[in-house]
Amino acid sequence: MDIFLQQIINGLVLGSIYALVALGYTMVYGILGLINFAHGEVVMVGALVAYSVMTALLPTGLPPVLLALLALLVAAPVCMALAWAIERYAYRPLRHAPKLAPLISAIGVSILLQNLAMMIWGRSYHAFPDILPPIHYDIGGAQITLLQVATIVLATGTMAALVWLIQRTAMGQAMRATAENPAIAELMGIPINRIIMLTFIIGAALAALAGLMVGANYSVAHYYMGFMLGLKAFTAAVLGGIGNITGAMLGGLLLGLIESLGGGYIEDLTGGFLGSNYQDIFAFLVLIGVLVFRPGGLMGERVSERA
């Protein structure tokens, strides 16, 4: 029982990170119908920038929490600027192009960022400094660390703020209108280019936060980490119904739980034939399963065919 509970806690932490990244995918997809392939790399850049800031400021002796905050204050603008550049130079010129063109361009950006990061930070794994003291709490036989609590709380708070932004502010209304129908939104006087750019930038800020959380929770940052993370977050977005904000959060949490429980129990389920090194497969199985049986996702209403 305590192992089960432990896997649930781990799954929730992983899931809330997936949810943050998935939001970036789903918002862009909702407006442009484009899979922003480079989003995972933005998360990676966020994590590595945060790592660099923290290791650079470590000798000052500031409390680690303050360091993390400073790291976020640097990483978020870097990611936002990056997202701005990607949208402006790799996606915007291709809005009228045949449908494969933006996707291929996105793949190009992704490779470009990965190799740039490799040149800057090298191929090695970087050990992320501790942000919070290693305090454990016992819940029914399972342990939850202070860091895990902070991750879940912070992710939930950020997502709540995002929902408020989208549902309650004029800017959010403009975003929803643009997603609904860009042509008519523009006729109503909405500066859709600015709104699209804003969507990318908000997604990038969430990505920076997610990058910091990944680094802090798994104590490691690496130039290649964005790829898998991005794929899984995209899966989460599809699972929840791509284009749907609440769906992305739900999908993220669900995928985190599936992966964590699946990875923990796969050995028992297959009689020791497959071990936890197959954990990465679950996300893809979920993705294929959702696309086959419920292409709209759990909360999506729009059907897959929108050629």
């Binding site: 809005r95 009228h96 042509a183 794929l231 995209f234 993705l287 696309l291």
Partner: protein, 378 residues
């Protein structure tokens, strides 16, 4: 001098039906036949090896071109089929299981198995939108690699990350291509023999691809690529035709994979990563999607250019700055990424697009289809 030039011009000018003079083909044939000897004598065996790999990539790129270029389905995990072909050869012709099957048994089997994998992957996903397909195929490629990496326990099948070594080289009866072949008058070195084998295979694949493009199925693929709903309305069974594209493309990949294993005599999961898939995709996209000469050009360019680059980038940095700042390998990938973005933006048809495709792009710029998102052009 003037005479020769005029003669050459007459030779290379297409006749009215668009075909080249037969003499051009003869010259090209002679050139291809003597090429390995010249390269081996002039540049050494390293470059001959690279040339052999270039031929393998031509096969792969043509296979992917069927899926991406002809049918317009973005496959990001194409290298998985290459892996299937290579590992099948490795398992059936190596000490791993003590099997030593001949080439005419393994190669068709590898092609068929890869084709089957293509259908297995395609069946659940092909009714979806194009960009979903890209992600699912990407995931599929990773799944295959994860399995290859981990299937060494509890039963050792793939030997895990170490890969399988001591694989049988391609051999016909007792004649093995891994050793020089003595023909009495001349002795054909191993690498040259492989070159001829790969050349024949590549020629066959080029031939099949050209016939496919002009066949009924090829026209159906083009119809689906241009407008799936219209194609459906014309009575094309879009799902089956797309599945066929997947299976055909996968088959080519399987053949290339088998030849790779029989040439390299060693396979490991490392050779089948996502970057390889991206590289083959780059060849198709940069060369010119759906245009066979363009794709061949792309494959040759992207195998040869990085090698030249690798030889040059290090020494140039050394002489300019006195030390190597940027690893040529990552610089190469960086340029790949950049070129994907730039080609999509400035030459969406590729470096050598098919004339028809180029016309369509030009048309699209004049007659504007209702755009998904209208924007102000500055």
């Amino acid at each position: 001098m003037k005479m020769t030039a005029r003669f050459l011009a007459r030779l290379t000018r297409p006749k009215n039906d668009g075909r080249l003079h037969w003499a051009v083909w003869v010259l090209l044939g002679i050139l291809l036949a003597v090429m390995p000897w010249i390269i081996a004598a002039g540049f050494g065996n390293t470059w001959l090896r690279i040339l052999n790999f270039a031929l393998l990539y031509v096969m792969l790129a043509l296979g992917l071109n069927i899926v991406v270029g002809f049918a317009g389905l973005l496959d990001m995990g194409y290298i998985a089929f290459y892996a299937v072909g290579a590992y099948l050869w490795a398992l059936l012709a190596s000490p791993q299981f003590g099997l030593h099957w001949p080439i005419w048994a393994i190669l068709p089997l590898g092609a068929a198995l890869a084709g089957l994998f293509g259908v297995l992957l395609g069946a659940p996903t092909l009714k979806l939108r194009g960009d979903y397909l890209a992600i699912v195929t990407l995931g599929f490629g990773e799944i295959i690699r994860i399995f290859l990496n981990n299937l060494n326990a509890p039963v050792n099948i793939t030997n895990g990350p170490q890969g399988i070594s001591a694989i049988d080289a391609v051999h016909f009866g007792s004649v093995s291509l891994a050793r020089p072949i003595d023909l009495g008058i001349v002795t054909i070195p191993s690498l040259v023999a492989f070159y001829y084998l790969f050349l024949i295979a590549a020629m066959a694949i080029i031939g099949i691809a050209m016939r496919l493009e002009r066949s009924r199925v090829g026209r159906a693929w083009a119809a689906i690529r241009e407008d799936e709903i219209a194609a459906k309305a014309c009575g094309i069974n879009t799902r089956n035709v797309k599945l066929l594209a997947f299976a055909m493309g996968a088959t080519f990949g399987g053949v290339a994979g088998g030849l790779f294993a029989g040439f390299q005599q060693f396979v490991s999961p490392e050779s089948f990563g996502l970057l390889e898939s991206v590289m083959v995709l780059c060849m198709v996209v940069l060369g010119g999607m759906g245009h066979i000469p363009g794709v061949i050009f792309g494959a040759l360019l992207l195998t040869l250019l990085p090698e030249i680059f690798r030889q040059i980038a290090g020494p140039i940095q050394l002489s300019l700055f006195g030390k190597i700042y940027v690893d040529p390998e990552s610089l190469r990938m960086l340029l790949f990424g950049l070129s994907l973005v730039l080609v999509m933006r400035y030459r969406p048809g590729g470096l050598w697009p098919s004339p028809q495709h180029q016309r369509e792009i030009d048309d699209a710029q004049h007659v504007d289809a209702p755009p998904a998102v209208p924007v102000h052009h500055r």
